[in-house]
């Protein structure tokens, strides 16, 4: 059936970059404005509605007015509702609970977070080694659920001399360095990731590359993409991107 994506692109604030991208755009169509005149045709023509979450359904912990009503309305009309979020910090279970708390019932199978997609991606490439994770509990839970072995650095002390950091890096064979949003990011974690990436057989995977996120007061704060860029810069490696707008997320959703 036809799929309509609702999303809010974050982090693309640089006007010069935006202009460049628009000039290079492969389609010259402009968005259609929804109104009561075309809404019937719009809804009837679609079987499935995919929703981004942050900035579309809610802003931080505040529901955007009318969101849940629209979701329930479409559901009652028999439409398939799928959620696709680049947020890597929460697991599917937490998301499902969140929807319920807000007043919308859905199945875990209808929710796709980049945390889930990251674990699903590793499973799809038959990844059997150990992951060094720089990220939040959302990715941790999904990695565990998919049977992927991982470890993190939780408390990293401040080292007076940089060489001491290397001495403390666990001497483990690491097959992948995986990064998501980590609000407790430290120099040591990046140094450790860099160390493992120096092994040619170690891959570099990121849940999403959103450079900035809307903050509670309406401005922007650093996102997972800005964090991953540190490791990109230091290692000279471009990571495998799991989240939107990459193709992996789409493949995972459609195959499921």
């Amino acid at each position: 059936g036809n799929i309509m994506m609702f999303g809010l692109r974050k982090g693309y604030l640089n006007k010069t970059k935006l202009k460049k991208r628009m000039n290079r755009s492969y389609h010259t169509a402009v968005p259609h404005i929804l109104s009561s005149r075309n809404i019937r045709q719009f809804i009837d023509g679609k079987d499935t509605f995919m929703f981004d979450c942050d900035g579309v359904l809610w802003k931080s912990n505040n529901l955007i007015e009318g969101s849940i009503e629209t979701l329930n309305y479409l559901k009652d009309m028999g439409k398939r509702i799928i959620f696709v979020t680049n947020n890597s910090t929460k697991s599917l279970t937490k998301y499902q609970q969140r929807f319920l708390d807000f007043g919308f019932e859905c199945d875990r199978e209808d929710i796709f977070s980049s945390s889930y997609a990251t674990a699903a991606y590793l499973q799809s490439i038959n990844f059997k080694e150990k992951v060094f994770l720089i990220g939040a509990s959302g990715i941790e839970e999904e990695l565990s659920l998919h049977g992927i072995d991982y470890f993190k650095l939780d408390k990293t002390p401040y080292y007076k001399y940089s060489d001491q950091i290397i001495d403390d890096i666990p001497d483990i064979e690491v097959g992948a360095v995986v990064m998501g949003l980590d609000i407790n990011l430290t120099y040591s974690k990046i140094a450790t990731g860099l160390h493992y990436l120096r092994n040619k057989n170690c891959i570099f995977v990121v849940s999403n590359l959103d450079y900035a996120l809307p903050s509670i007061n309406g401005s922007l704060i650093p996102g997972a993409g800005s964090m991953a860029s540190m490791l990109q810069c230091a290692s000279g490696m471009d990571p495998v991107l799991v989240g939107k707008p990459g193709p992996i997320f789409y493949d995972i959703i459609t195959s499921k």
Partner: protein, 288 residues
């Protein structure tokens, strides 16, 4: 470089700009022959300037470090660190407000020495994720300056992000070296840390150190050097050599630091001269 062309080189150069880590010293010890060349060039009447992207020491502290390593005659005026450079640049441009500083205590000290007001978060006053979003932004802060900070955290980068995006603060970095290479390991450099902020705000900083022309202007104004009679000696292609080549200076790559043969062959940045170590200059010149 060899004994054949050394004479012409020395005849055409009055000032030698020397990178430090990988040229003068490595892993806390002077590289054999380096200070001998320094003294030899000074005896020939050449001006020796130490030019480092290090941003964690003040100019005075770095001069002392060089003294301790083996240069008995070095003075502060011969030393240009990227910490000194960024503070000097702000003063030269008439900056009189407050800076939000992300970096080491050495960088903060250099700002104090040069009389620039700054705010820095560390330890007890570091911001939480909620704090970053709810804190009121000080109107007096007109610039964000970032150097190497091993205590980097979300609070500092988040606060700087808001200052740049909401208050339109100017954005400076001491240098953008992506890695810090030691004989035993490779660690993230200042440039990697800066990318956390630059990608979040969608903007590149004005860079103080090599290969930027900010340090070039400061050097010219402080030393009166003539670029065409100046030679930059360094171990890193994308900072030292690029700096020399972009500013009409001669450039010389040494192999005692970061760059290996493979990198040199594959690089678009081509040094004018190449030699194994700084000590070769005296060796070739005195035919040893």
């Amino acid at each position: 470089l060899n004994w054949d062309n050394i004479g012409a080189l020395l005849g055409s150069v009055d000032t030698f700009l020397l990178d430090c880590d990988g040229v003068i010293y490595r892993a806390g010890q002077s590289i054999p022959g380096s200070f001998e060349t320094v003294q030899y060039l000074r005896d020939l009447g050449k001006r020796i300037v130490y030019l480092t992207n290090n941003n964690m020491k003040t100019r005075a502290e770095y001069a002392q470090k060089l003294k301790d390593l083996g240069d008995d005659h070095v003075s502060e005026d011969d030393v240009f660190t990227s910490s000194y450079t960024i503070a000097s640049f702000l003063n030269d441009s008439g900056f009189s407000e407050t800076v939000y500083l992300i970096g080491s205590s050495g960088l903060a000290k250099e700002f104090e020495k040069q009389g620039i007001k700054y705010i820095k978060h560390d330890g007890e006053n570091s911001l939480s994720v909620d704090g970053v979003q709810s804190v009121a932004l000080d109107d007096n802060i007109k610039a964000v300056v970032m150097g190497n900070d091993r205590a980097i955290d979300f609070g500092k980068i988040g606060f700087a992000t808001r200052l740049i995006l909401e208050k339109n603060c100017d954005f400076y970095a001491t240098n953008l070296d992506s890695t810090w290479v030691t004989p035993t390991c490779i660690l993230p450099g200042t440039g990697s840390l800066v990318s956390w902020l630059s990608t979040a705000v969608g903007r590149q900083p004005i860079v103080a150190g090599k290969p930027s022309n900010v340090i070039y202007e400061i050097l010219v104004s402080r030393t009166g050097l003539n670029p065409q009679r100046t030679c930059m000696v360094g171990d890193r292609l994308d900072t030292d050599i690029l700096f020399g080549n972009s500013n009409e200076m001669k450039s010389m790559l040494v192999m005692t630091g970061v760059t290996n043969e493979e990198e040199l062959q594959g690089s678009k940045i081509v040094p004018q001269f190449k030699t194994f170590c700084l000590g070769d200059i005296k060796r070739f010149a005195t035919n040893q």
